[in-house]
Symmetry: none
Subunit: 155 residues, 2 copies
Amino acid sequence: MISNPLAKHKLTILYGVSLALLLFLLKWLELKLIIVNHAYEAYMGAIAIFFTTLGIWLALKLTKPKTVVVEKPVYINNGPEFTINQTELDKLGLSKRELEVLQLMAEGLSNQEISERLFVSLNTIKTHSAKVFEKMEVKRRTQAVEMAKRLCIIP
Amino acid sequence: MISNPLAKHKLTILYGVSLALLLFLLKWLELKLIIVNHAYEAYMGAIAIFFTTLGIWLALKLTKPKTVVVEKPVYINNGPEFTINQTELDKLGLSKRELEVLQLMAEGLSNQEISERLFVSLNTIKTHSAKVFEKMEVKRRTQAVEMAKRLCIIP
DNA sequence: TCCAAAATCACCCTAAAGTATGAGCTTGAT
DNA sequence: ATCAAGCTCATACTTTAGGGTGATTTTGGA
């Protein structure tokens, strides 16, 4: 909720100032109202309540909210005419080359065949495919293809 | 975090007891060490820290974690109803089990995962998949899936 | 009942896929 | 100019996929 250091400093300053004010208040009470030593319990309670409240307030302010991911179904039509879903493609952040590799994967080509098709080495395709899996958060090429088809990134 | 009333009572009692103990401690200090009035600031600071910490602890213990719901879209293909092409399926001559394996392959599962899904051994899945590739005249699972989708054998 | 097909599983081996890391080169934007 | 991102490639390693063969058990139909 609060993350920038300035805000944290503001809280610290506020804390210090309120502590000082409280001390002044207590001094004043002591001098003016002649609070006897045996009345400790009374304003000790007040102090306890005050700082406990302050602590609670601090805790509530400073705790980071817990995020809960809820999966929300989105239905898409997969009619005969295919139009690539640019939005989803952008979200994945695949590069031009990575998308090319993904498309050839979807055609059922092996890494070796893809490397020959694109005139690069097998290792390069492995690197690209690994990046694709990472960005798509999948483990295998079959999952990547399945997901890409569902997202309408490839026909 | 803690929701049953008994636990809350326990906390309250603990709170009260610790407050009482602190008061006794202060009294004892006052009597035995002769804390002068002007040394207020010192142990007031200690008290402040103690109760602030207590307040923070209480707040963390008693508040339910703040949650922020983040909706994650899950894309589902809900296009025109899929009808399997029985003619093409018959032409291939896939058995019931082989078709099952093919479908799970298309979902991106590994042979290991398929074997666990169907409660059979990994070797059995390998045998089935080999038969599928043979009947479909393909070399790899990715090709088999691509072909099956084109032939409308699987959605 | 008997047989062929289907289903199950095992073993061994090779090929392909995937992981991890590092490094050189290019390019576009600030 | 420089700096991040993309593309390229390599090496070494682990895991998974796939091929070949053989075997046992189930099962549906002639």
